[in-house]
């Protein structure tokens, strides 16, 4: 029986100690009418060998970036993960431990959390970081709640149209039913006009939500947007790409009040969307409104430096309905991965990866745009992602053909942006080689020719 210990003999001994005649008797507190009188309708048990064969057969029905060259992005990225990240994070003492509520036997996790907060602060240029949230999308929602509670405005939030469409959907879900207006400022030309935002922000606005580099890959004018928000007493919430910060200005350097991000790029696998890592950092004065766990330094009774979970009076297990959020778990294991990743990268590694992403994506963009059938949808500068327009407006075929040829060429945008139904988003990480990029371009060129011939 998989992971059970008790042998029939032991069960009898234990029942004798309990004074029960059978295990069945232990369940007598459950009224008979509330019991399931039949076995669950589930497949029979599999031993490890069978289970391995079964999962392997399922895995074989998927094709991933080891099968097809991946130019997909849009919030989840095929960045390189050093082996040391896996080696460390797979230590049982990390992944089979619980939330460090007993600091005496959790200093490993607590120090790792403290170092995570330190690294995130340095990475973002912000004052304080929590110990992580669920993911980049829900982190934005939490940042909005935090903004509302901080500035005591619940009526309106201004969101740039270049924010990840799924993040915006999450904001709709969180706040739509509560009556908050989610005002979306459209992104034309790949970025949002600051003046449009300025026109949208008013005295009721809790915060301005910007993503930079945005969903289309382009930096927004964060400093200007922060000025706009601050002028009306609103906060600026910036969602950023952690791997861009080796070369791009940090949220803290551009006036952001709360910086949030999807942290998957920092050493976590794509695993079909999760679990990931919600990063949140903010200015010092907002810390007591921040959701999630926070680790702080202190000393023990012998005067030794150590770390504990702190500011817990913000949290649900103490404050219940008055908590800053209902969040209980953090993403400890993935915060750990991010810390290890950043420790290994250092400033120079982060700079190098940023440069590679920028240069390789620009090389790819230039090559693709040189094909007759394609053009870049926007002229705005970008970091590692860009939008390609199919002049023959048949994105599904382009992507399907590319897939057949061994390339996940990009993410179709029509689902979220009807006006971009002829466009797809192409992402180029440091893992993509020139040979792979040239392969994609060649494939797209063939698509061009073939379709041309058919036409």
């Amino acid at each position: 029986m998989a992971y059970l210990f008790n042998t029939p003999q032991e069960q009898q001994e234990m029942l004798a100690s309990i004074g029960a005649s059978s295990i069945e008797e232990l369940f007598e507190q459950i009224p008979a009418s509330l019991r399931l009188g039949r076995p669950l309708d589930l497949p029979p048990a599999m031993g490890e060998l069978e289970l391995t064969q079964h999962l392997s057969s399922l895995a074989a029905k998927n094709q991933g970036p080891s099968d097809k060259v991946c130019f997909l992005g849009g919030g989840s990225y095929d960045h390189f993960i050093p082996a040391a990240v896996d080696a460390i994070a797979s230590r049982g003492e990390f992944y089979t431990s619980y939330t460090p509520y007993q600091p005496e036997v959790s200093q490993g996790n607590l120090q790792a959390m403290f170092e995570y907060q330190t690294l995130i602060c340095e990475l973002t240029g912000m004052d304080v970081s929590n110990a992580s949230l669920y993911d980049g999308g829900s982190a934005i929602a939490e940042a909005v709640i935090m903004s509302m509670n901080t500035v005591r405005r619940h009526e309106k939030v201004v969101v740039l149209g270049s924010v990840h469409p799924e993040y915006r959907q999450i904001l709709d879900t969180y706040f739509g039913p509560l009556g908050t207006q989610i005002f979306v400022v459209p992104a034309t030309g790949g970025t949002v006009d600051v003046a449009d935002v300025e026109a949208a922000v008013d005295d009721q606005t809790a915060c301005v939500v910007v993503q930079s580099p945005n969903f289309f890959g382009s930096p927004e004018q964060v400093q200007a947007l922060a000025d706009v928000a601050h002028a009306k007493g609103a906060l600026l919430v910036q969602s950023f790409d952690p791997l861009s910060l080796g070369v791009l200005k940090r949220p803290g350097d551009m006036g952001a009040d709360i910086a949030v991000a999807e942290g998957q790029s920092l050493g976590s696998p794509m695993q079909y969307g999760g679990p990931y890592l919600g990063i949140m950092a903010c200015r010092e004065q907002f810390v007591r409104r921040m959701p999630g766990r926070i680790c702080g330094e202190t000393t023990d009774r012998r005067g030794k430096r150590c770390w504990v979970l702190t500011l817990q009076t913000r949290e649900q297990h103490i404050r219940r309905e008055k908590a800053t959020s209902n969040i209980c778990t953090n993403q400890g294991l993935f915060a750990l991965r991010a810390s290890i990743y950043l420790s290994l990268m250092g400033p120079t590694g982060m700079k190098e990866v940023g440069e590679l992403c920028a240069r390789k994506s620009h090389y790819a963009a230039t090559q693709i745009a040189a094909q007759e059938r394609f053009e870049l949808a926007f002229s705005s500068p970008f970091f590692k992602e860009f939008v390609v327009r199919d002049l023959q407006n048949d994105v599904q075929t382009v992507l399907a053909d590319a897939s057949d040829a061994g390339f996940f060429a990009g993410v179709a945008l029509g689902t979220w942006f009807p006006e971009l139904a002829d466009c797809f988003l192409v992402t180029v990480t440091e893992k993509r080689t020139r040979v792979e990029i040239d392969g994609l371009v060649k494939t797209l060129a063939l698509t061009t020719n073939r379709t041309t011939i058919h036409a």
């Binding site: 340095e122 679990p275 209980c328």
Partner: protein, 480 residues
């Protein structure tokens, strides 16, 4: 050196990762990106060599207790064994290296897995509809409440603004209610059971949901469950079941069969996903048919031999998380359920309950267990008598256990029991381990108060000053 901070280990010019040479034109970044977007310098992260990063974290890890190294009788947290096979299988390249926006025809194995998991979880819950999207238990609670709100709106009952929960409930229950736009109302418990009188007094046509944890946080099955459900349903309210304690009733009692309209699972508890030092979890929710249309999108559907994501769900509350959800955690749950099968899952609960009752039968002789001679998968002992007699608190006992190599039970929860020690043995511990634990616990109750007040004595640190930490927060090291 192991407790030095990375920032203290840093030396200018050291490095670990070296990226490949650029194989495309090395255009200056100033030609690719606007000057006002570019940083002058990269962030001043610590500069370290790979060997010291590995040694640093390896040594840090050994400062933790964990299921792999210690017994962890932490009530309500279900610190059971995390199967190594699940870690391996969830890390197969064909499982872990999948981008969320891949075309569906390249994901048929993953979608099959998720579809089957949807089926497994609805069968175990007795509730027919499911969303795998929520990222954690609390997230699931909130998602279900948002769905309930949408349901009430759809039937013109926007007026239902109250969410009730017992005083013994997890803090997430009222917090989720508040976040979902409801007003949280507390219902009293008596001897661990819902006070029906208090409940009835608070039931009216403003009530949207009654949230109940069953088995309760006291480790007791709520025997009035049918009565409660009838009363709540009678006023048009819904029952939400907090599934934190599902480990006790797998294959024995199903939330959907006992009156619940909604529930969440904690796969990292019930289905052995590792806790990861605080996360990730996942919070799949199952709901009654009438609530199905309101669940988040997408869900996985099967058409013929093909699996696909269904987004065409016009009444859905929308999306509560990016992408599909915490798939890695769900894969482990899937593996776990298949590893046990129907008989095995029932045996899991039987042995979890057997272990808890065995421990209870031993502990009660020297530490009162106020609520009942029997329990489900956990029980709550009280150190109140010890406190009164010799000033030893539940916290003292908890700390002293650490000296003996046992993780502490959950203390001071639920709030309804003074000096509470909530003990959950789980089914993946042996009788020998339980015996050794009980013997140690007893020995501790015989030890001197002074010794216990200063405990733990053998751990790397002892009794950190938490007040100072909160008063003058130091939340980061100084970099470089």
């Amino acid at each position: 050196r192991s407790t030095q901070l990375l920032t203290e280990l840093s030396q200018p010019g050291r490095r670990a990762v070296v990226m490949p040479k650029c194989d495309v034109p090395e255009t200056p970044l100033s030609e690719l990106l606007p000057a006002d977007a570019l940083a002058d310098n990269p962030p001043a992260l610590p500069e370290l060599a790979e060997p010291e990063v590995v040694r640093h974290y390896t040594n840090l890890s050994t400062l933790n207790m964990s299921v792999d190294t210690h017994y962890y009788p932490l009530g309500s947290c279900t610190m059971k064994y995390n199967p190594k096979r699940n870690e391996r299988l969830a890390s197969l390249p064909g499982i872990v290296d999948l981008h969320p926006y891949q075309p569906e025809d390249s994901l048929q194995g993953m979608l099959q897995l998720l579809f089957e998991l949807q089926q497994f979880l609805t069968e175990i819950s007795g509730l027919p509809a499911i969303s795998l999207q929520p990222a954690a238990g609390a997230h699931g609670e909130w998602t279900a409440l948002m769905s309930a709100a949408a349901y009430f709106r759809s039937i013109g009952q926007e007026n239902r603004k109250l969410v009730l929960s017992p005083d013994s409930s997890h803090g997430t229950n009222p917090a989720s209610a508040q976040m979902a736009g409801f007003t949280a109302v507390t219902v009293k418990t008596v001897d661990g059971a819902v006070c029906m009188e208090d409940l009835r007094s608070k039931l009216n046509d403003q009530v949207a949901v009654f949230m109940i944890t069953n088995p309760s946080t006291l480790g007791l099955f709520e025997t009035q469950m049918a009565e409660i459900a009838e009363a709540v349903h009678a006023v048009g309210g819904l029952i939400y079941l907090d599934g934190a304690n599902m480990n006790a009733v797998l294959g024995i009692s199903r939330p959907g069969d006992i009156g619940a309209d909604m529930m969440h699972y904690n796969p990292h508890k019930t289905f052995s996903g590792p806790h990861g030092g605080g996360g990730p979890g996942a919070g799949p929710i199952c709901v009654a048919e009438k609530l199905a249309p309101f669940l988040p999108s997408p869900i996985v559907v099967k058409e013929g031999d093909k699996y696909r994501l269904d987004y065409d769900r016009p009444e859905s509350i929308g999306r509560v998380r990016t992408f599909f959800g915490n798939v890695g955690v769900l894969v482990r749950a899937y593996c776990y359920i298949l590893s046990y099968g129907p008989d095995g899952l029932k045996a899991v609960s039987e042995n979890a309950v057997l272990n808890a009752n065995y421990l209870l039968s031993k502990v009660k002789h020297f530490m009162p267990v106020p609520h009942g001679q029997r329990c489900m998968h956990e029980f709550v002992a009280s150190a109140a008598k010890l406190k009164q007699e010799k000033g030893v608190t539940a916290m003292d006992i908890a700390k002293r256990l650490l000296d003996y190599g046992y993780h502490a039970p959950t203390v001071y929860f639920p709030l309804t029991v003074p000096e509470a020690m909530m003990i959950e043995p789980t089914e993946t511990e042996s009788k020998e381990m339980l015996d050794a634990f009980v013997e140690t616990l007893f020995r501790i109750t015989e030890e001197s108060a002074d010794l216990l007040h200063d405990a733990p004595h053998s751990t790397p640190i002892s009794r950190p000053n938490e007040v100072a930490a909160a008063r003058q927060p130091c939340l980061r090291a100084v970099c470089n």
